[in-house]
């Protein structure tokens, strides 16, 4: 079984984003960038499927700027077999990414496509579901457990009321939640080896996908700031303050 994983280059999760003075967006100049954490979990899950013998080949795909090559090299160093970079310096919306991935899926015929459930920059949480719709495949979103067997995959999903398990016919799309696995760090020898793994460079035009934006960002502002309040010195004082708020009176 071939597995496709999609990865996105985003602001590192430890960096506090700063809104640009002109309100046009978030300042990404000289900011540390990394693989979207949910996508790391997707890559790890694909590798585990391969290690268990359920997957035979892992193809990592990224739609993004030239520097997304680094993100793909990280995926290759973790254990992906080859990579495809669909390069564009434009910001590409989830719908267009899903269309590109659908075209790649048509060429590569994977049995499973694993994506992070959301990117921590735009927080959209859309691409996997859109891709599944475009392909007419079932979807196992917010996965905390994935078990592939024969022509099916059983996915346990983190939902608001607990854990839901669904069974999907392959091919299927899976999106990862936080507790699916703990991604490995790439070892130095594997980082070196990844440099010689194949990485194909493509453009959205190669797939005939129009990436023109459907959403126009009018402005980006900082949210209203909370002011730090006061520190109390004892539990008694805290209780008094809480009573003052009408709590547990």
């Amino acid at each position: 079984m071939k597995v496709l994983v999609a990865v996105k280059r985003v602001i590192d999760f430890n960096v506090k984003p700063r809104v640009k003075m002109d309100g046009s967006g978030v300042d990404l100049a000289n900011v540390k960038m990394s693989m979207n954490p949910f996508d790391e979990i997707a890559v790890e899950e694909a590798i585990r499927l391969k290690e268990r013998g359920a997957a035979t080949e892992i193809v990592a795909v990224s739609v993004g700027p030239a520097k997304a090559q680094e993100t793909l090299r990280t995926a290759l160093a973790m254990g992906a077999d080859r990579a495809i970079l669909v390069q564009t310096e434009e910001e590409v919306e989830p719908l267009a990414v899903a269309k590109i991935l659908a075209k790649i899926a048509a060429e590569e015929s994977p049995q499973m496509i694993i994506l992070g459930k959301q990117a921590i920059d735009d927080d959209c949480n859309q691409t996997g579901q859109m891709l599944a719709a475009l392909l007419g495949w079932p979807q196992g979103t917010f996965a905390s457990k994935v078990e592939a067997a024969n022509d099916n995959v059983t996915v346990t999903r983190e939902v608001d009321g607990g854990l839901e398990t669904v069974k999907l016919k392959l091919p299927a799309v899976v999106t990862t939640d936080l507790r699916l696995n703990e991604p490995r760090y790439a070892s130095l020898p594997n980082i070196m080896k990844a440099k010689s793994k194949p990485l194909a460079a493509k453009s959205p035009g190669d797939y005939g996908v129009d990436v023109a934006r459907r959403l126009e960002t009018v402005k980006v502002v900082e949210p209203a700031k909370r002011q730090a309040g006061i520190k109390v010195g004892s539990v008694d004082e805290l209780v008094e303050r809480l009573h003052g708020l009408g709590i547990a009176k």
Partner: protein, 309 residues
């Protein structure tokens, strides 16, 4: 403009998340509430009474049970021929289905909106709520999910909508429901609780997490939440998680205990009216957003607080 709202329900009654979603949708136009499921006549009866709902559309068929996106999305997409916008709550239910509807319509979705600024313009959080974007959609139809804490709940009762049965389509059959491991709790739900007590990794174990937090929560009539670290460590189930990728809450009072305050956690609770922080590290970032802070050992403070409240 007519708006199709996807009703979240449990098969018997309308879930609370639907109510603020209807409030948001009503800012766009006439609200038609879609109740999709199996044997959902009772849900439809409730939905007609919600203030602001003009019409209830019922798609009732066995294959629409269990909220499977593969089955519900085509039904909703077909109804969109007669609607200008599709609106769903930004819960795991809505987040699962809405993008699938959007792709079927070739529309770019607006996720997790905080406000409706105009017929095609909305605000939404990006970067874990560290920035708020005002976004205008150029698509002919809109697909939107709604942050439920950002809108008032539409009133249950007073409405008098008509009911119409709609085509439930045929079963797609690509997916099936296996099981739901539901978290049973007598406490209020996190997303609608007035008071939340929330614990972090500092509790050290699942036993201590529950032994200390549960009595405090019971005393306050509060819901219990957790940081990602506490859930990852197995102290609390996944649906307790508050944060960027967990639940977004906005209670009257949020009491964060042993939670340092990573930006991902703050993203989920910083709209609480009052934030109380208890942490042994006086430099913890949680104190930068807390209205009331108490520095000290939670193992001493929490039992004392529970006793004295």
């Amino acid at each position: 403009m007519s708006v199709l709202v996807l009703v979240e329900h449990d098969g018997k009654s309308v879930r609370d998340a639907t109510l603020p979603t209807i409030t948001a949708a009503a800012k766009l136009g006439d609200v038609h509430a879609l109740v999709a499921g199996a044997n959902v006549g009772g849900v439809a009866e409730q939905a007609v009474k919600i203030a602001g709902v003009a019409k209830v559309l019922v798609a009732d068929a066995p294959h629409l049970d269990h909220d499977l996106a593969e089955e519900i999305a085509p039904v909703a997409a077909k109804l969109m021929a007669d609607h200008d916008a599709f609106v769903a709550p930004a819960t795991t239910f809505g987040k699962n289905i809405a993008p699938r509807v959007a792709a079927l319509l070739d529309v770019m979705q607006l996720s997790d909106i905080l406000s409706v600024e105009g017929p095609d313009t909305f605000t939404r959080p990006i970067y874990a709520g560290n920035a708020i974007a005002t976004v205008r959609s150029k698509d002919p139809k809109k697909v939107v999910t709604v942050r439920t804490t950002a809108f008032d709940k539409a009133e249950h009762g007073g409405g008098n909508a008509s009911v119409e049965q709609v085509d439930a389509g045929g079963a797609v059959g690509a997916s099936s429901f296996v099981s739901l491991e539901a978290s049973e709790s007598a406490r209020p739900e996190l997303t609608s609780a007035k008071i939340i007590v929330s614990g972090g990794r500092a509790f050290g174990s699942s036993d201590q997490f529950h032994a200390l937090l549960d009595p405090l929560a019971d005393k306050l009539g509060a819901a219990v939440g957790a940081s990602r670290a506490a859930v990852d460590a197995g102290y609390a189930p996944n649906d307790y998680q508050v944060g960027q990728t967990g639940k977004i809450v906005a209670p009257q009072v949020y009491i964060a205990i042993g939670i340092s305050g990573a930006i991902q956690h703050l993203a989920g609770m910083k709209d609480a009216k009052t934030i109380v922080a208890i942490n042994k590290d006086e430099e913890a970032p949680i104190f930068q957003v807390a209205d009331l802070g108490l520095v000290g050992d939670l193992f001493k403070i929490v039992p004392e607080l529970t006793e004295k409240l």
